[in-house]
């Protein structure tokens, strides 16, 4: 390469603009290994397991009133599929950037739909969030910014949905801050869910994806309510103090009810001191014990 060519390359490089340099490529098919929270992100959590959830009284009461048949109600059939489902569902994600055809700039990052979960469109063009009275949807409305090499997204305007797939709910006032962090072949996603209606403090979870050996296609349509046989006008539920699954965590793992019912303190180390004298480990694992295949 001649000196002139080097200079030209240097000039071109400088013209590229530094904001673009802060952006890294997140696109691709990303598989979830589910090595952590394997049951929760796989077959689904145990009923009555609200450990670590910073519930307030309303959030706990709502969760304890939950009966599985609720998800057959036309009004709630899609409640699994808020954007939070990306964090607690079992599947990988397909991610790509949408570019402006003229400028070539990234207008949005998209996480493709999966079956009933709608696509997550992270608008990168500086548009504002809708007003407070704007309609809500399962996927909500999301904007994003680059913070160094971390893509940070903020989601509002979601419909009520599930925080955990055993009846722990989020309200339509919930918001999610999601960070996408790439380290080589690892994509770590960290998400903070805030909900003034059901939580006393944010709920925070993290998960890591790896490149999928096969293409993950963005498939399906947003969830469409249908008739699954729940009679109109009925809401399957348990009345207060009548949830028969409340003792599941004690039965399976000897986890005290005080812990199973959640609350912010259950996520902090000091809580161990509180339950230490109430706990004796079960002699052996009885269910969902096998290592990952």
């Amino acid at each position: 390469m001649t000196r002139t060519q080097v200079s030209l390359n240097v000039a071109m490089f400088l013209c590229m603009g530094f904001p673009a340099l802060a952006q890294i490529d997140l696109s691709g098919s990303w598989a979830s290994k589910n090595h952590e929270d394997a049951l929760e992100r796989g077959a689904g959590p145990n009923p009555g397991d609200f450990t670590g959830i910073p519930f307030n009284d309303a959030g706990r009461a709502k969760a304890l009133s939950y009966k599985q048949s609720q998800i057959s109600m036309p009004e709630r059939i899609c409640a699994f599929y808020s954007q939070w489902h990306m964090m607690i569902g079992t599947f990988g994600i397909k991610m790509w950037n949408q570019t402006d055809p003229v400028s070539g700039k990234t207008v949005a990052w998209v996480i493709g739909a999966w079956e009933d979960r709608d696509a997550m469109i992270i608008w990168m063009d500086g548009r504002p969030h809708p007003g407070k009275s704007a309609p809500h949807s399962e996927s909500g409305f999301t904007t994003g910014v680059w913070e160094g090499d971390v893509l940070t997204a903020y989601t509002t305007h979601m419909l009520t949905g599930y925080l955990r797939r055993n009846g722990a709910m989020t309200s339509d006032q919930a918001t999610i801050t999601t960070h996408f962090i790439r380290h080589g072949d690892l994509l770590t996603v960290a998400a903070q869910l805030e909900d003034p209606i059901y939580l006393t403090e944010p709920y925070y979870i993290t998960r890591t994806f790896v490149p999928s050996p096969t293409v993950i296609n963005s498939t399906g349509m947003p969830c469409i309510p249908g008739d699954e046989g729940v009679a109109a006008g009925t809401v399957p539920h348990y009345l207060p103090d009548q949830n028969p699954l409340l003792g599941e965590m004690m039965k399976l793992y000897h986890i005290p009810q005080e812990a199973a019912l959640g609350g912010a303190e259950t996520a902090y180390p000091a809580f161990r001191d509180k339950i230490k004298d109430q706990f004796t480990p079960p002699p052996k694992c009885e269910r969902n014990c096998a290592p990952r295949n």
């Binding site: 390359n9 802060a22 090595h35 450990t51 290592p291």
Partner: protein
């Protein structure tokens, strides 16, 4: 791309200014501040972390048959009798414990992480550090490097800490005897994130590889919230039964 970094350094020097000099040492060049007190938020794998998991509960870990056989023979009384109480507090597992962390600069090239649970200390060595040799240890030999993002003009520096740990004494990935061997290696990425509500979070992506006991790398992510001070800091000894 080999040209990129000198050019960036020049550009960041400002209009017509001299190139920014390279940082004097890893402490001076830190793109993120990991120092201070952090508390773990245990809302994932709760039953494996906050209480003692039952024998035979291996869910989620990509164990091979040799690992299952080993763990099936786990006997905490034996560990206790032998005085080997800290097997679940080694580097591959320590960040899964419910705990407080205290991170400080030991010197300009060495970052130190103290965990109150099990009263453990990890030391992250930057630059051209040479391991001292000797027998493998619970916390192993950790080599650290900054992974610095190329920031937008005018933006503060940003990046991550990558730590690679080897020369590990065998231990447990979980308290109920899920093993890792002396052949295990650990790679971690430390990211500091500012949250919408003002919290500062430390997110650590953890990858354990072990040809002896794992069918594939064991990949998990732990998160911690920054504290204003040392509230809750409570050094405790290792235990095999709680």
């Amino acid at each position: 791309m080999a040209l990129a970094f000198p050019l960036l350094a020049q550009a960041q020097g400002g209009r017509g200014g001299a190139p920014a000099p390279p940082p004097a040492n890893p402490k001076a060049g830190a793109p993120i501040d990991l120092t201070g007190y952090w508390v773990s938020i245990v809302d994932e794998d709760w039953r494996f972390r906050m209480v003692m998991p039952p024998k035979g509960d291996y869910e989620g870990v990509p164990m091979n048959p040799a690992a299952v056989k080993f763990a099936d023979g786990w006997d905490p009384a034996k560990d206790e009798a032998s005085g080997d109480l800290c097997k679940a507090y080694g580097a591959p597992a320590i960040l899964r414990q419910p705990e407080h962390l205290h991170i400080t600069w030991q010197d300009d090239r060495t970052l130190r992480m103290d965990a109150d649970t099990g009263t453990q200390t990890r030391v992250f060595h930057f630059a051209e550090w040479k391991a001292p040799g000797g027998p493998p240890t619970l916390q192993g030999d950790s080599v650290a490097q900054w992974e610095t993002a190329r920031p937008a003009r005018g933006s503060p520096p940003h990046g991550s800490l990558k730590v690679v740990t080897s020369h590990l004494k065998a231990g447990y990935l979980r308290k109920n005897g899920v093993p890792y061997s002396e052949n295990a290696d650990l790679t971690e990425y430390y990211d500091v994130l500012k949250e919408h509500n003002g919290d500062t979070m430390l997110v650590v992506t953890i990858v354990v590889t072990d040809p002896q006991y794992l069918k594939e790398p064991f990949i998990i992510t732990s998160h911690f919230k920054k504290q204003d001070g040392d509230a809750g800091w409570k050094p405790t000894p290792c235990t095999v039964k709680w």
